[in-house]
């Protein structure tokens, strides 16, 4: 290294040329950076979390849907409005990247009337051909497949759901959809309110936030760091040098991101801010030391001395920070967290390299100038830190007890931390995105998918009825309103077309015959594979609390597992189970129709009062029986077909006429394979892995720090002692999160590791100087005071500049980044405080063991 230092000092121009070349080559990669905030893309196809999601998206050509909701001042169901909806639907399907469009005008309907089966679009090609428009309107409003799914209950809102291809970035497709809809509305002077929802639209809003943040926060953090440095050094040169060093280091790191084709995510916003905040520390130490040495030495001698003296501490400092970021990279299955860790680690190394190759040559070429600290003279500075040293020395016992108390309280609040992963948590509740999403959720089903995947002989009635039981149980648990997209309802509708009963047929032969109608049909490819042995049930759900979502996902997994193998029981034996199931099915439909004055108990009582027939000869008998029960139901509860359509009610009652019922955990194999997928599952999985990743990353960084410090101080005990202030800091961080209900998510989870990696610097500097003073012959008391007055200022200003740099993230538009910024500020201040109070107190107590006396 001496040869290198000599080269840097003796050949400043060449060294600077090398810096410029590095800068140009690496930073050019910035132009290759692209944005991708899709949570699924943060996991590889082979990862445990991502695998089924990717598979299901490709197999069923599905992706998170784009939802466009229109709210009108009049009824949607008017021909003039329907014409526009149809045009937007048809033209929407032509947009590149859209594979399917569902809207009220583009949906198929199956009806049965006296020997005829009508399989047609709900609305004909020519709206003028509709003979009974009022009748059709009543029909639509009574059917749960339309009411609440495609038309709102008040009839004034409707949705067009556009399905992007899984091969395209859904957020880019969503941008095209938005542009098209906006221009259509404008060109046609429609006085319609348009709300854009669905995950791809949310991703666009997140992207807007990311871009805005980058444009705003990078200059802001640069200004803050500049201000802190200027207050410290009172010299433009001394302020600009560390700042420029870290800016060029950051540019190179971001360029590496572009070259490695790593996408910029919400994590990525934090990278430049973190690097600017953390990376300038190395420059601060070099300049501080240089101005001390320059007083009595020639520039070359001073520079060489500075490089030799500061190299090890700043190298160790950089390596611990580097290790902190790498621990995030290696501990995470999430590619975004890994990429964040890797690029940040690169940034730290670049900052170190440029600190050693940019600052010294510039100082050599421009040696004049001095550093002074404003109103505070050296003497007053000396007095502050001497006072501090005396305080710690005198009250060391109370200091240790105080810190121990804080640690215990923090440990208690640590247990209160909530883990939450949700796109909506990015946004303020008052933000447009949150308001729009909430509005769509209240008017229709929701925007986030939960998908149930099964594999087996789909064209088997037992298989389909098992699916029916699972989807109705899950629907019941979710409150009953949400209606899944599923092959079950399609086969039930087709059966209705033939037999007038909407139900899954009794045997596989009938199911096979019904499949004839939909074989090769485009509209089923999202729910049924072409080889008929895989299917997908999709629920659209609103955003919900993590605990509720977790329970729902767990229930879905449990049901799929329980019903993998079933028993087929005769209806006579299964009477109670049938009644219980039918009660839930009916209640689901009541909930969806907003009929809330009828409880589950009411329905159960009603069913107990009807005659249970043990046998039916044919479909005609079943139909007659079900119609009697349905009529009885309408009159008992004072309902009409306008409240709940006869078709929906018959479907809910249909298990009453099943010849057999299905019990879970039997001997008949139904599903060869099952799984739960969709965004809801993704959120839940990420939450569950966060804790594990956090622990792994913490353990890794602790090991790295202990090893590095043991090497530096040549003592394992010192290596462990150096951890104490930082472990305390991490505990306080978690305690604050628990106390102030700051959620642990995929951004705040990185705090602990970064805090260890960055905050350990203060401990290293204090211990390093203290050891140096002891080795120079001072006793422990003299070494103690001298360490305080020499490193104290550096540690305080270092922590302030880093902490304030992080605090800039409080101005981010992304909520989790705000929490991250504030918490990082606190951890930097706490770690500096612990390094200057708790650590010295411990050193005094352990001086004999450490041989510091």
């Amino acid at each position: 290294m001496d040869k290198f230092f000599n080269f840097v000092v003796k050949k400043p121009f060449l060294t600077l040329l090398g810096v410029i070349i590095l800068l140009v080559v690496f930073s050019a990669g910035v132009f290759k950076i692209y944005l991708d905030n899709d949570l699924l893309h943060w996991f590889s196809k082979k990862s445990k979390i991502g695998a089924l999601n990717y598979y299901v998206n490709e197999r069923f050509e599905s992706n998170n849907p784009i939802i466009v909701m229109f709210t009108l001042e009049e009824d949607v169901l008017r021909i003039s409005n329907l014409i526009h909806i149809r045009r937007m639907s048809k033209e929407g399907k032509e947009i590149e990247g859209i594979v399917n469009v569902i809207s009220i005008t583009e949906v198929d309907d199956v009806k049965s009337t006296s020997g005829e089966m009508i399989v047609d679009k709900l609305f004909p090609d020519n709206f003028e051909d509709i003979k009974d428009f009022e009748g059709l309107k009543k029909y639509i409003k009574s059917k749960e497949s339309y009411n609440g799914s495609l038309i709102s209950k008040d009839g004034k809102s409707t949705v067009i759901i556009l399905q992007p291809s899984p091969e395209k970035n859904a957020d880019y497709v969503a941008l095209k959809v938005r542009k098209f809809i906006d221009s259509y509305i404008k060109e046609n002077n429609l006085n319609w309110k348009v709300y854009y929802g669905g995950t791809p639209m949310l991703l666009n809003s997140i992207t807007d936030l990311v871009v805005r943040d980058l444009r705003f926060l990078i200059p802001l953090v640069s200004f803050v760091v500049f201000a802190v440095l200027f207050v410290s050094f009172r010299s433009i040169k001394a302020t600009l040098l560390p700042l420029i060093t870290v800016l060029i280091g950051t540019a190179c790191a971001m360029g590496v991101m572009g070259y490695l084709k790593l996408p910029l995510t919400t994590f990525g916003v934090a990278i430049p801010v973190i690097l600017i905040a953390v990376g300038n520390a190395y420059g601060i130490h070099v300049i501080n030391e240089y101005h001390e040495k320059k007083k009595n030495n020639h520039v070359d001698v001073a520079l060489l001395s500075v490089l030799k003296r500061t190299f090890i501490p700043i190298l160790m400092s950089a390596l611990t920070t580097f290790g902190g970021f790498l621990s995030i990279a290696f501990a995470n299955e999430m590619r975004s967290a890994r990429d964040f860790g890797i690029i940040s680690a690169f940034g730290v190394i670049f900052s170190l390299i440029f600190t050693l190759t940019f600052i010294p040559p510039v100082l050599k070429l421009f040696p004049k100038g001095k550093v002074s600290f404003g109103k505070l003279t050296e003497e007053s500075e000396h007095n502050i830190f001497s006072w501090w040293a005396r305080f710690v020395f005198k009250y060391k016992k109370w200091i240790v007890l105080f810190f121990a108390g804080i640690a215990v309280i923090s440990a208690y609040f640590l247990t209160k931390i909530q883990i939450k992963v949700d796109y909506l948590s990015y946004f303020d509740k008052k933000s447009e995105v949150a308001i729009v999403t909430d509005h769509i959720n209240k008017t229709f089903d929701g925007s986030f998918e939960l998908k149930l995947y099964t594999k087996g002989n789909v064209l088997d009635s037992t298989y389909l009825r098992t699916l029916q039981i699972i989807e109705e149980e899950l629907r019941f648990m979710a409150g009953g309103k949400t209606r899944p997209s599923s092959p079950v309802s399609i086969f039930a509708s087709l059966n209705e077309g033939i037999t007038e009963i909407p139900m899954i047929p009794e045997n596989a032969y009938e199911v096979e015959n019904l499949y004839f109608f939909i074989d090769g049909n485009e509209s089923i490819k999202n729910i049924l594979s072409s080889d008929k042995n895989e299917c997908l049930i999709s629920f659209l759900l609103p955003s919900m609390e993590s605990s509720t979502r977790y329970e729902l996902v767990k229930k879905a997994e449990k049901l799929l597992n329980e019903y993998k193998n079933v028993s087929i029981i005769d209806r006579k034996v299964a009477k109670e189970k049938i009644y219980s199931f039918v009660s839930k099915m009916i209640l689901n439909r009541m909930q969806r129709a907003s009929i809330t004055n009828i409880s589950l108990k009411d329905i159960e009582n009603f069913l107990s009062s009807i005659e249970f027939k043990e046998r039916f000869k044919n479909y005609e008998e079943k139909y007659k029986y079900l119609c009697e029960v349905a009529n009885n139901f309408y009159s008992t509860f004072g309902l009409k077909t306008a409240d709940i359509s006869k078709s929906d009610l018959l479907y809910g009652l249909s298990p009453l006429v099943w010849d057999t019922f299905i019990y879970p955990e039997g001997n008949t194999l139904v599903f060869e394979k099952t799984g739960v997928a969709g965004l809801m599952k993704l959120f839940t999985d990420v939450e569950l892995t966060l804790l594990k990743n956090q622990l792994i990353s913490l353990i890794l960084i602790v090991i790295i720090v202990v090893v590095l410090n043991t090497i530096t101080f040549k003592s394992l005990l010192e290596g462990f002692i150096s951890l104490v202030p930082i472990i305390f800091t991490v505990l306080v961080n978690f305690g604050i999160m628990g106390l102030f209900k700051i959620n642990m998510d995929f951004i705040t989870i990185t705090i602990a590791s970064i805090a260890v990696g960055a905050g350990i610097d203060y401990t290293i500097h204090f211990l390093s100087r203290y050891t140096h003073e002891i080795e120079n012959g001072k006793n422990y008391e003299e070494a103690f005071y001298h360490t305080f007055v020499t490193t104290g200022k550096g540690i305080v200003f270092n922590s302030l500049s880093v902490g304030l740099g992080f605090a800039v993230l409080n101005f981010s538009g992304i909520l989790p980044l705000r929490s991250f910024g504030i918490l990082m500020f606190v951890t930097m201040v706490v770690s500096a405080l612990a390094a200057l109070t708790l650590l010295p107190a411990l050193i005094i107590y352990l001086r004999r063991v450490l041989k510091f006396y």
Binding site: D108, G115, E116, M117, I118, V119, D120, K121, D125, L459, G497, I498, T499, P505, N507, Y509, E510, E512, N513, L514, Y515, F516, F517, D519, G520, N521, S530, Y619
Partner: protein
Amino acid sequence: MNRLNLLILLTLLWATAFGLSGQEVLDKVEASLTGYSDQSATAEVTLGKIDGGVEETRIMKLWSAGKNRRVVKFASPPNVRDIGILVKSSDEMYIYLPAYKKVRRIQGSMKDQNFQGTDFSYREIGSFEYSDNYDSRVVKEDEKNITLELSKKPNSDAFYTRIIMYVDKENYLPLKLEMYVKEEARKVLTILQREKKEKYWILTHIRMEDLLKKHYTEIKMKDVIFDTGLEKKGVFSERFLEQPVK
């Protein structure tokens, strides 16, 4: 040469110089394929991916008469055996499902949906009628072939906006059809083999490719019999539809 002969010669020259119109060519094409009063045949239908292998083979029995009357019954595979479709007119279609032992009239927009997983729509299967829905013009003509461009008539409900038809000039049989929706080519129908039986031409082997789905359907026609009085035998009736395939 007298004046009458000169007039005849000039008329013939005129007709030769300008050739047939697109509509005339189309009429000849349709006539070459539908000249019979009725036809019955067995069709072997093969489905597969364009860049993959064969997925499935089915056997169907076909009976047709005139422009619109058709009966299609499945002989294999077992899961569709005896399912039958009866088309009486463009608006009158019936289906028989043997599992339910019921015939149901079907109304609606199924005619442009793919027929039973094939790349032919209900409208296309067993039918070669275009003049009702398309205007035709000649875009190219050489010694052997004529290329027609068929454009959808304004009030037609046909699915394709435009069809390019390549016609063999010798016998006015189609060679290939390219079907477009707006500017996008959606399907290609290729006539791979044809035979003349009695006085009628049969397209014995055809292949339809769906360019979007990258899927194909090949139909081979066998045991073709013409003019056997199917109407009188009551083939185009619901009763016949219910009978099992022999």
